[in-house]
C-alpha cells in the first residue's frame, strides 16, 4: 500500500500581472505518495473549491512530460529537484512527510505572471517566428529519400529537437537567458541538410529576437541541469559559433559555403 504524506505548501498567489503577489500557506494532508506533484495541487484545489476559496492556477496539460505546459519553481529548482523530469512527472514519493514545499512561478521579465503560478511564455513563440523553421511550403517538398541525412547529424539534431519549450532553462538561469531554448531549435535545424539554405539568416534573426527578450549567458550550466529533456550545453556553443559566422559571412556567398 502506498504511504501518505502530510505537507505544508508555501505557494505564490498573485491576482494578475499588475498586482503584487505574496506567499500563502496551505496544508496538504493525506497525500498519496503515488500522486504526481500536479495531482497533489489538484487535491489542494479541490479542497479550496469546496470551502469556497479561489483555487490556485497553474499551467499543465498532457501530464506525461511532453507538451511543455507545466512549470513551477519547486523548492528553488525549476520542475523540482528530480533530474530530467517535468513537474507533471515528479511524484510525491520524492518528498518527505512533514516537509514544507515552496512553489513559485517561473520568473523572468519576459515571462510575466498571468495569475498565481501561470506565466506568459509567448516570447518563445516570437523567437520561433523569427526563423525557427525551414521554409518549405506545403506541396513543395521532393521525395523524402532524395536528401540523405547522415545518421549522426540526424541523431544530434534530434537531441536538440527534443526541447519541449517549457522555459525551465530561463527560469533556472540567474540571468534569465534563453540560450538553451534558442540554441536547441538552431541545433535542430542547422545541423541537417534541409536547414542549410536559411542557416545563417535563421541564426541571426533568432538570436537577435532572443536578445530583445532575455538576459545574457554566463555559462553557469543551470539551464542544462533544469532541462527536463537534458538538452546539451554544446548547442549553446554551436549557436555562439554560428551567430558570429552569420555576422561575418557575406550572405550572397554563404550559400556557396
Amino acid at each position: 500500500m502506498s504511504n501518505e504524506l502530510d505537507l505544508k505548501l508555501k505557494i505564490w498567489r498573485q491576482e494578475g500581472p499588475a498586482v503584487d503577489g505574496k506567499f500563502e500557506t496551505y496544508d496538504a494532508n493525506g497525500i498519496s505518495e503515488d500522486m504526481s506533484f500536479l495531482e497533489m495541487l489538484d487535491v489542494v484545489n479541490d479542497n479550496l473549491i469546496t470551502t469556497g476559496e479561489v483555487p490556485i492556477e497553474f499551467d499543465h496539460d498532457c501530464r506525461e512530460g511532453i507538451c511543455g505546459t507545466c512549470s513551477l519553481m519547486i523548492n528553488g529548482q525549476a520542475h523540482g529537484h528530480e533530474k530530467a523530469t517535468t513537474t507533471c512527472q515528479l511524484h510525491m514519493r520524492k518528498f518527505n512527510d512533514g516537509e514544507t514545499i515552496t512553489v513559485e512561478p517561473f520568473r523572468a521579465r519576459a515571462f510575466p505572471v498571468v495569475k498565481d503560478l501561470v506565466v506568459d511564455r509567448s516570447a518563445f513563440d516570437r523567437i520561433i517566428e523569427a526563423g525557427g523553421y525551414i521554409s518549405v511550403n506545403t506541396g513543395a517538398a521532393s521525395d523524402a529519400n532524395l536528401t540523405p541525412v547522415p545518421k549522426e547529424a540526424s541523431d544530434t539534431s534530434f537531441d536538440a529537437a527534443a526541447c519541449i519549450g517549457c522555459g525551465a532553462c530561463v527560469a533556472a538561469c540567474p540571468n534569465s537567458a534563453a540560450q538553451l531554448f534558442t540554441s536547441a531549435k538552431l541545433g535542430h535545424l542547422n545541423l541537417i541538410p534541409q536547414g542549410q539554405a536559411q542557416r545563417f539568416a535563421r541564426t541571426e534573426n533568432m538570436v537577435e529576437t532572443m536578445e530583445s527578450f532575455f538576459g545574457s549567458c554566463t555559462n553557469h550550466g543551470e539551464c542544462h541541469e533544469a532541462c527536463p529533456k537534458e538538452i546539451s550545453l554544446d548547442f549553446i556553443a554551436f549557436m555562439n559559433r554560428d551567430y558570429v559566422k552569420a555576422k561575418v559571412k557575406n550572405r550572397k556567398l554563404a550559400g556557396q559555403k
Binding site: 508555501k10 505564490w12 500581472p17 506567499f23 519553481m73 523548492n75 528553488g76 529548482q77 529537484h81 515552496t102 513559485e104 520568473r107 523572468a108 521579465r109 519576459a110 515571462f111 510575466p112 498571468v114 506565466v119 506568459d120 511564455r121 509567448s122 516570447a123 513563440d125 516570437r126 540567474p174 540571468n175 534569465s176 537567458a177 538570436v207 537577435e208 536578445e211 530583445s212 527578450f213 532575455f214 538576459g215 545574457s216 549567458c217 554566463t218 555559462n219 553557469h220 550550466g221 543551470e222 542544462h224 541541469e225 533544469a226 550545453l233 554544446d234 549553446i236 556553443a237 554551436f238 549557436m239 555562439n240 559559433r241 554560428d242 551567430y243 558570429v244 555576422k247 561575418v248
Partner: protein, 275 residues
Amino acid sequence: MTTTATKPSGSTPIFQQKRQMPFPLNIYQSAIGRKWVMALTGIGLLGFVLVHMIGNLHIYEGPAKMHEYAESLRTLGGGLVPKTFVLWLFRLGLIGMFILHIHSAYTLKERSRKASDKADFVGGNKKYESKRDYVAANYASRTMRWTGPIILLYLIFHLADLTWGFVGDGWEAGDPYHNVVNSLSNWFIAIIYIVANIALVIHIFHGTWSLFQSLGINNPKYNKLRRNLATAFAGIVLVGNLTFPILTTIGFINEDNRVCPPGDLECLVTQAEAH
C-alpha cells in the same frame, strides 16, 4: 469588422533592437558578440597574467636579475624603436582589452538584471522570493561579478604600490626587488595581495572554461579537457603568484644579503653582468 489578435503581455520586447552599426561593430551590439569580446580579451588577459607571473619568478634570482628582467621589458624591440615603445604598445593593448572586458561584462550584467523579474535583482540571488537552489552554477561562476571588481581595485592598488610608488615610503624607481620586499614585508599589504590573487584565480577558473563555450569551441572529444585546462591554469597562477607575498612576509625573500643599495641602478646592472 475585423478584429486583431491581442498579443500576450509576454510578447513585448524588453530591449529595443538598435540600428545595426557597420561590420564588425554590429557584432559588439549583440550579447553573444559581447561574450566573444569578453572571451577574446579574456584570452589576452590570461596570457598577461601567466607571463607576468613567470617573469616575476626572476625575483628568486635576486635584485640584479630582477632589474635586468624589468629593463628587458623596457627595451623590447631592441634598437629598432625608442625605448619602452613596444612595452607601451603592450600596455595600451592591455588597457584596451581591460576596458572592453569590463565594459562588456558590465553591460551584459545590466542586461541580465533587466531581463530578470525584479528591478533590484543583483548577482543572481534575488530573482526568486524563495531560496534558490543551484545545481551546476559553482562558486566561481556565480561570483564573477564580484571577483571582477575586486581584481580591478587590486590592479589599481598594485600599480599604485609597485609601479607608481604611492603606497608607503621607500619606493625606488627601477628597483622592483626592493619595492616588492619593501611593500610585502608589511603583513597587512601581503594579505591584500593574497586575497586579491585568490579572487583572481577564482575568476580565471570560470573564465578559462567559459571562454571556450562563448567562442563556440566545442567538441565532445575535448570538452572534458576544457575543465582540466581551467583547473591547471588557475592552479599554476595561484601557486606562482602566492609565493611572492607569502615568502616575503615569512622572510624567505629578503634584502639581508643584498649588495647594491636600494635604487642604485648602475650597481644592479654591474651585478647582473657579473653573473
